[in-house]
Amino acid sequence: MEYLIIILSAILVNNVVLSQFLGICPFLGVSNKLSTAFGMSGAVCFVITLATVVTYLLQNYVLVPLGIEFLQTISFILVIAALVQMVEIVLKKTSPSLYQALGIFLPLITTNCTVLGVAISVVTKQFTFGGEAHMLNLAEATVYALATAVGYGLAMLIFAGIRERLSANNVPAALRGIPIALITAGILALAFMGFANLA
């Protein structure tokens, strides 16, 4: 039951893009076409889950026992950068077709703040999912990261679908491009607010 609440909450109620404002740059940047949005969401899904597991272990088994939590920001970003590089190399060797689909998005992910944001949140913040506030354990953190990434993909795909239609419409000159995209995102965020009391 608790896992269900984590999933619903991360995907719909506290959607990572539309209510926590993480990963806005790729959200606006690569959402022109549905196919690229799909590729980006896939790559993000993969990296967020992996990065959260690795940084969770790093925090609890290296940084805390040694008393060097102040290195958190530096070590997390380095681990994420190395991880992205490694995923790229492994993917290139083992699954060329997947690499073809996700390849160009992987280097961009290092500077996607969703990855670092989720990694830092799960080790520093207390969450309340139905019960009392507590730090997440590894299983919960993994589910939370995966659900957050799915929420990211959901927002991205809906948004890309809307923008594909938008490009065929006659938008006033001053609003063309990013401004109308931002206003669309605002209305989408308004729609997602409807989920507020769901979980």
Binding site: L22, A81, I180, L182, G186, L190
Partner: protein
């Protein structure tokens, strides 16, 4: 380019928010009020100036292949310094901005200036560039925060201007997107011909 124009270009001509469209996450997330927007802008300014200076000083000695990780380490160091200073001196501000302080590391403005400007220019010019871009960022965040605060809670910089309740949606997530969209329209109308 003379020193003065290096400094002023960040304010309007290369304004990070309205022209370069960089650093959107903190822009949208922390501008719930004019003061919050301004604090986030100043925090970024601090990191931007120091990392620009440090990177322009070490850039000639960093091998080309590892330059991005090297820059990220430099930036992350200054962000950690900032984090501890804010925790010690302004704990209330630190609590409101929360996660977005460590996330300055992945703010594309900082890495963007390091790569595009600081790595190729002398230390003083890089400091001025960081100062200009940082002030431009602070300015846009303050304006966005001010508009959202005015509409959302009918106050400015924490002072109540009109009695009564505002439109809550403008302080919440949807307002951030919509107001930034319309501010961009206004900015383009005035400054872009």
């Amino acid at each position: 380019m003379n020193k003065f124009s290096i400094f002023t270009k960040g304010l309007i001509k290369e304004n990070p928010t309205f022209v370069l469209l960089l650093g959107m996450c903190p822009t949208l997330a922390t501008t719930t009020s004019a003061l919050n927007g301004m604090s986030m802008g100043l925090a970024t300014l601090f990191v931007l100036v120091l990392s620009n200076m440090a990177i322009s000083a070490v850039a000639p000695y960093v091998p080309d292949k590892v330059r991005i990780p090297a820059y990220i380490v430099v930036i992350a160091t200054f962000v950690t310094v900032l984090e501890f200073m804010m925790k010690a001196f302004t704990p209330a501000v630190y609590d409101t901005l929360g996660l977005f302080i460590p996330l300055i590391v992945v703010n594309c403005i900082v890495l963007g200036r390091a790569e595009a400007f600081a790595s190729k220019n002398p230390v003083l010019d890089s400091a001025l560039d960081g100062l200009g871009i940082g002030l431009g960022f602070t300015l846009s965040l303050t304006v966005l925060g001010l508009v959202r605060e005015l509409l959302g809670s009918l106050s400015a910089f924490g002072l109540k201007i009109i009695p009564g309740d505002g439109i809550l949606a403008f302080v919440l997530a949807p307002g951030a997107f919509i107001i930034l969209g319309y501010l961009m329209v206004v900015f383009n109308k005035i400054f872009k011909k």
